[in-house]
C-alpha cells in the first residue's frame, strides 16, 4: 500500500509537469482529462480507508540524506488520510471547474501546472513522515499559492496580494524550519512517527521546548491566517475562484491546523498549549465573523468566514479534549465541503452575472438552478440546518464547548456568538443572490457550463449525504483521524445526527433564531464602511506595510551608498573593509620577523624586486594613462618572474597570460577615455596615498603572520602531493587538484566566470539606446 501512496502523489506531480503540454494538445478538454489524475488518487486513498478504520497505517521510506537523518519517508494514518481525501476529492472538482471558469484565458496550461503542483505539494505535506520533507512541501505550497494568487498578473492588486501572502507565510515557514531543526536537535529525530511514539510529555520537558513551540506555532499561524497574521487571506481573494476555493479555504490554509493536529500529542502536554492556542483561535474566530459582517463582496464575506472557521478549528485543538478534537475533525470536513461549494458557486455567479456585490444580486435561482442548488446546500450546511453535515459538526462543537473543564459560560458564549454570525453570513452570501426579485447585473446571467456546475453540486450533495448518515463517516474518517490527533488508537468516535433533547440542541436552535434576526440587521452593518475602513488602517496589515516600506527604503539607501558607480569608491570600500577585518584579526596572532625561515634569493631575484618597486612608483607618478598601464604590466610580469624563481612555473605561466590579456583589455577600455587633463585634488591624493600605504602594510603583516602560523591540523599539501599520481594519474599536482581532486570547485568557478562574461557583454551591448556619456574616468 506504500507503493500505491507514493505512486498517487507522484502521479499528481507528473500531471502538473505534463499539464501545459496536455492543454496545448487537447485545448478546452484538458481540464476534464487532467481532473482524472486527482480522481484516481482519490480512489487510491479511498482504498486505504478500511486499513485506517482498523487502526493501521501506511508507511513508505527511501534513504535521502542519511548523514543528516533526513529521509524521504511517508506516513499515513487517520488524520493524514482525512486530509488526503479532502485534497484529492475537492481537487478533482476544482480542476474540472477551472477548465470552465478560465476557458479561453491565455496561460491556462501554466495555471494547471501551478494548481496540480500545489495539489501534489499539499498531499506531500499531509503524507510526510519527515519534518524536513514536510517543510519542503510546505514552502512549495507557499510558492504555488504566490503564483496562483498572482495569476491575473496584469493587475497590480493581484501582484501585491500574492507578494503579501508569500512574505507572511514565507516568514512563518522560516520560523517553522528553525523550530523543526531545534526539535530535531532536542529529540534526535525528524520522523513524525518516532516523535509521536515518544512517551507523553517527554518533548514538552525539553529545555528548548518554549522556543520550539513558539517557532512551530508561528509557522502554523501564518499559514492558517490566525490573528495577527490574518490579513493576507482576504487579500488573497484576488485569485481566480477555483484557487480561492481550493487553496484559501478547503486545503492550504488548513495546513497550519494540520500541523497543530499532527503534533498535538507532542506539544499539548505543555501548559503553554492551552493558554496560547485556544485564545488565539477564539480571537481569530471572533475577528473573522465581525469583519465578515462589514463586507459587501460575497467572496470576501466567504474569505472572512474562512478565517472564523480556521480560528474555530485552532480553538478546538487548543482546548484539546476528546470531544473537542472530534468536533474539530468533523467541523474541518464539513467546512471543506460547504465552503468549496459556496466559493465555486459564487465564482459561477461572478462569471455569468459579472458582479459579486451581495446588494446588487438577487433572484438568480431561476436563471441558474444548478448553481443555486449547490450554493443553497452549502449555505444551509454552513448555517447548521439539520440533515446537513454542518449541523452535525456544530452539535459536536457545542458539546465540546459544554464539556470544557473550568469556569462555565465563556467558551459557550463565544461559540454561540460566532455561530450566530455564521448563520447570517451564510444567508447573505449563499442565499440572498438566488432569491427575491431579479436585479440588473453587468452581464446577462445564464446557467454556467456543466464543468462549473458538477463540482459544486457534488460537494453540496456530499454535505447532505454526510449529514444524513454521519455514522459511516464517524467510524471510517472522523474516528481514525481523532484517534491520531489524540495519540490514542483505541479512541472511537461515532457520529450521530440525533442526540436527543440536549443543551447542545437548544443552543443550535437559539443560534438559528438569533442568526435569522442578525441577517435582517446585516445590511446596516455592511453600511458602516467608515468603521471598517478605520479598523483596516489600525490593523496588523499596517505594521506589515510599515516593515516592508522600511526594508525597501533601507535597501534603496544602501544601494545608493555602496553602488554609486565610481570604480575608485568601490576599490576604497572593498580595500577599507579588508583592512578593518585584518586589523581586527591580526593582533590575535603572533607577528614576527623570523629571518631563519626566509629563503636566500639570487641576484636575479633582487633585481626583479627592484624592478617591481620602480615600476609601481612609476605607475603612481606618470601623467600619461598609457604609461601607467605599461608600468603596471611590468609589475605583473615581474611577479611572474618571481614565481619562476621560486619554483612555481604553473603560476608564472598563468600570471603572464593573464597579464597580457589584462593589458589588452586595459588598452581597449582606456582608448575610450579622454586624456588625463584634470588631476585629483591634493587632499584626495594624500588620502589615496595613505590608504595605499595602510593596505600595503597590512598585507605585508599578513604575509609575516602566515610565516608564523601553526595550524593544529596537518597541512593537506603533503597528501595532495603523494596521491597526485596514484589517484589522479598525473604528476602536475596543481592541475590534478584543479581538474580532479577539486573538480567541483573548478566547475563552480568556470560557471561564475561564464556568468561574469555574460555580465560584461550585457553591460556593453544591452545599454539603453540613448548612449550615456556619464561614465566618469
Amino acid at each position: 500500500m506504500g507503493t500505491l501512496l507514493t505512486t498517487s502523489i507522484a502521479a499528481v506531480f507528473c500531471a502538473a509537469f505534463l499539464a501545459p503540454w496536455v492543454h496545448r494538445v487537447l485545448g478546452a478538454r484538458a481540464g476534464v482529462v487532467l481532473g482524472l489524475v486527482p480522481l484516481g488518487a482519490f480512489v487510491a486513498f479511498a482504498s486505504m480507508v478500511p486499513t485506517m478504520a482498523g487502526g493501521g497505517n501506511v508507511k513508505a521510506s527511501w534513504e535521502w540524506i542519511p548523514s543528516l537523518g533526513i529521509e524521504l519517508s511517508l506516513f499515513v494514518d487517520g488524520l493524514s488520510l482525512l486530509f488526503l481525501l479532502v485534497i484529492s476529492g475537492i481537487g478533482t472538482c476544482i480542476v474540472w471547474y477551472a477548465g470552465g471558469y478560465l476557458h479561453g484565458k491565455k496561460d491556462l496550461g501554466r495555471f494547471y501546472l501551478y494548481l496540480l503542483g500545489f495539489m501534489g505539494a499539499m498531499l506531500g505535506i499531509v503524507a510526510s513522515d519527515n519534518l524536513v520533507l514536510l517543510f519542503i512541501f510546505w514552502e512549495l505550497t507557499s510558492i504555488s499559492s504566490y503564483l496562483l494568487i498572482g495569476y491575473y498578473c496584469e493587475k497590480e492588486k493581484s501582484r501585491k496580494a500574492a507578494l503579501q501572502a508569500l512574505l507572511v507565510t514565507g516568514a512563518g515557514g522560516l520560523a517553522m524550519l528553525a523550530g523543526i531543526l531545534m526539535l530535531g536537535n532536542a529529540t534526535g529525530t525528524y520522523e513524525i512517527s518516532k516523535l509521536l511514539a515518544m512517551p507523553e510529555g517527554a518533548i514538552a520537558a525539553e529545555a528548548a521546548f518554549p522556543a520550539i513551540f513558539v517557532l512551530l506555532l508561528l509557522g502554523a499561524f501564518t499559514k492558517s491566517a490566525q490573528f495577527p497574521f490574518h490579513f493576507w487571506l482576504p487579500n488573497a481573494m484576488e485569485a481566480p475562484a477555483p484557487v480561492s476555493a481550493f487553496l484559501h479555504s478547503a486545503t492550504m490554509v488548513k495546513a497550519g491546523v494540520f500541523l497543530l493536529a499532527r503534533l498535538h500529542p507532542c506539544l499539548s502536554p505543555s501548559p503553554l498549549w492551552t493558554t496560547v492556542v485556544a485564545p488565539i483561535g477564539a480571537l481569530t474566530m471572533l475577528i473573522g465573523v465581525f469583519l465578515a459582517l462589514g463586507q459587501t463582496d460575497a467572496k470576501r464575506i466567504l474569505a472572512y468566514t474562512t478565517l472564523a472557521v480556521l480560528g474555530t478549528l485552532t480553538m478546538l485543538l487548543g482546548l484539546g479534549t476528546d470531544l473537542a478534537v472530534k468536533a474539530c475533525m468533523a467541523y474541518l470536513l464539513a467546512h471543506a465541503l460547504y465552503k468549496a461549494a459556496l466559493f465555486l458557486a459564487i465564482g459561477s455567479v461572478d462569471h455569468e452575472a459579472g458582479t459579486r456585490e451581495v446588494d446588487a444580486l438577487g433572484g438568480l435561482g431561476r436563471l441558474m438552478p444548478l448553481t443555486a442548488t449547490a450554493a443553497v446546500l452549502g449555505a444551509l450546511s454552513m448555517a447548521g440546518i439539520p440533515m446537513l453535515m454542518g449541523f452535525v459538526s456544530k452539535e459536536y462543537f457545542y458539546k465540546a464547548l459544554l464539556g470544557v473543564p473550568g469556569p462555565r459560560g465563556l467558551w459557550e458564549v463565544l461559540g454561540v456568538g460566532a455561530s450566530v454570525g455564521m448563520v447570517a453570513l451564510a444567508a447573505t452570501a449563499g442565499l440572498k443572490p438566488f432569491f427575491g426579485s431579479l436585479k440588473t447585473t453587468p452581464k446577462k446571467p445564464h446557467e454556467a457550463p456543466w464543468a462549473m456546475t458538477i463540482g459544486p453540486l457534488i460537494l453540496g450533495m456530499l454535505a447532505v449525504c454526510f449529514g444524513l448518515f454521519p455514522g459511516w463517516i464517524g467510524n471510517h474518517l472522523i474516528g481514525p483521524a481523532s484517534a491520531a490527533v489524540l495519540g490514542d488508537p483505541s479512541f472511537s468516535a461515532g457520529l450521530k445526527l440525533w442526540h436527543g433533547w440536549t443543551v447542545a440542541l437548544a443552543l443550535s436552535v437559539l443560534t438559528l433564531a438569533l442568526g435569522a434576526g442578525l441577517y435582517f440587521l446585516a445590511p446596516r452593518i455592511r453600511g458602516a464602511t467608515p468603521l471598517f475602513a478605520f479598523l483596516g488602517k489600525i490593523g496588523p496589515e499596517r505594521a506589515y506595510e510599515l516593515v516592508l516600506d522600511g526594508v525597501l527604503g533601507f535597501a534603496k539607501w544602501q544601494t545608493r551608498f555602496l553602488q554609486n558607480g565610481y570604480l575608485r569608491n568601490y576599490v576604497l570600500t572593498v580595500g577599507g573593509f579588508t583592512v578593518v577585518l585584518l586589523l581586527w584579526l591580526l593582533p590575535r596572532n603572533e607577528i614576527g620577523f623570523d629571518l631563519s625561515k626566509m629563503v636566500p634569493t639570487s641576484v636575479m631575484g633582487v633585481t626583479t624586486c627592484a624592478l617591481i618597486i620602480a615600476s609601481a612608483l612609476m605607475a603612481c607618478f606618470v601623467t600619461s594613462r598609457f604609461a601607467a598601464i605599461l608600468a603596471l604590466g611590468v609589475v605583473g610580469l615581474g611577479i611572474a618572474i618571481l614565481y619562476f624563481l621560486f619554483g612555481a612555473p604553473d603560476l608564472a605561466m598563468t600570471q603572464i597570460l593573464v597579464e597580457t590579456l589584462t593589458l589588452v583589455l586595459f588598452v581597449l577600455a582606456f582608448q575610450r577615455l579622454p586624456l588625463l587633463k584634470e588631476f585629483s585634488k591634493v587632499s584626495t591624493r594624500v588620502r589615496d596615498a595613505v590608504f595605499a600605504l595602510i593596505f600595503g602594510g597590512v598585507m605585508t603583516a599578513l604575509v609575516l603572520v602566515a610565516f608564523h602560523f601553526k595550524s593544529s591540523a596537518p597541512p593537506i599539501s603533503g597528501y595532495m602531493g603523494e596521491q597526485s599520481l596514484p589517484l589522479g594519474q598525473g604528476r602536475n599536482v596543481v592541475n590534478v587538484i584543479l581538474v580532479d581532486f577539486r573538480a567541483l570547485d573548478t566547475l563552480g568557478e568556470i560557471t561564475v566566470l561564464a556568468i561574469a562574461a555574460l555580465g560584461v557583454f550585457a553591460m556593453l551591448k544591452l545599454r539603453p539606446i540613448a548612449k550615456t556619456e556619464g561614465e566618469k574616468p
Binding site: P649, D650, M653, T654, L657, V658, T660, L661, V664, L665, L668, A669, Q671, R672, P674, L727, G728, Q729, G730, R731, N732, V734, N735, V736, L738, V739, D740, A743, L744, T746, L747, I750, T751, L753, A754, A756, A757, L758, V760, F761, L764, K765, E773
Partner: protein, 153 residues
C-alpha cells in the same frame, strides 16, 4: 589599427598559438600547463587577429559565436562528471583508461573536464575582448564622420 608588423606576424602566430594551446592542454596533467592556461593562449590567437584586422575578421576566424562556445565548454565539463555517476561513484570522480595512447597519453574524464575549462576560458576571453573591441570600433567610426561628438570629451 593598421600595423604592418602586427598583421604580418599575426599570420604566423595565430596558428602557432592554437597549436601551442592544445599542447599546453594535453601536457597539463603531468607538466606545467592545463586547460586554464591553454584556453588563455588560444584566446590570444583571436585577440591578436582582432587587434590586427578588426573584430569582424576575428569573429569569422572563430566560426562559432563566443556564447555558444562558453555554453559548449560548460556542457563538456559537466558531462565529464557523469561517467562516474553512471558507475555509482560521486559526481566528477576521475575515471581513467588504463592504457596510454601515443602522444596524447592516458585518456580520462579529468582530461575531458580540462577540455571543458579550456573551451570556457577561451570563449570568455574572446567574448569580453570582442565586445570591448566592437564598442571601440563603433566609437572610432562615429568620430571619423562628424566631429560633434568629440568636443564633449
Amino acid at each position: 589599427m593598421n600595423s604592418v608588423i602586427l598583421s604580418a606576424t599575426n599570420r604566423l602566430l595565430s596558428g602557432l598559438l592554437i597549436i601551442f594551446s592544445v599542447f599546453l592542454l594535453l601536457r597539463g596533467h603531468n607538466l606545467p600547463g592545463g586547460g586554464f592556461a591553454g584556453g588563455l593562449v588560444a584566446s590570444c590567437a583571436f585577440v591578436l587577429q582582432a587587434l590586427a584586422f578588426g573584430v569582424a575578421s576575428a569573429k569569422k576566424l572563430l566560426v562559432f559565436d563566443p556564447h555558444t562556445i562558453i555554453a559548449v565548454g560548460l556542457l563538456v565539463a559537466l558531462l565529464s562528471g557523469l561517467p562516474a555517476v553512471l558507475d555509482g561513484l560521486p559526481f566528477l570522480t576521475g575515471m581513467w583508461d588504463k592504457t596510454p595512447l601515443p602522444i596524447v597519453g592516458k585518456l580520462g574524464s579529468p582530461l575531458w573536464f580540462d577540455l571543458g575549462v579550456y573551451i570556457v576560458v577561451g570563449g570568455i576571453c574572446c567574448l569580453i575582448v570582442f565586445s570591448l573591441g566592437e564598442e571601440l570600433e563603433e566609437e572610432n567610426d562615429a568620430k571619423h564622420e562628424p566631429d560633434s561628438k568629440e568636443k564633449k570629451n
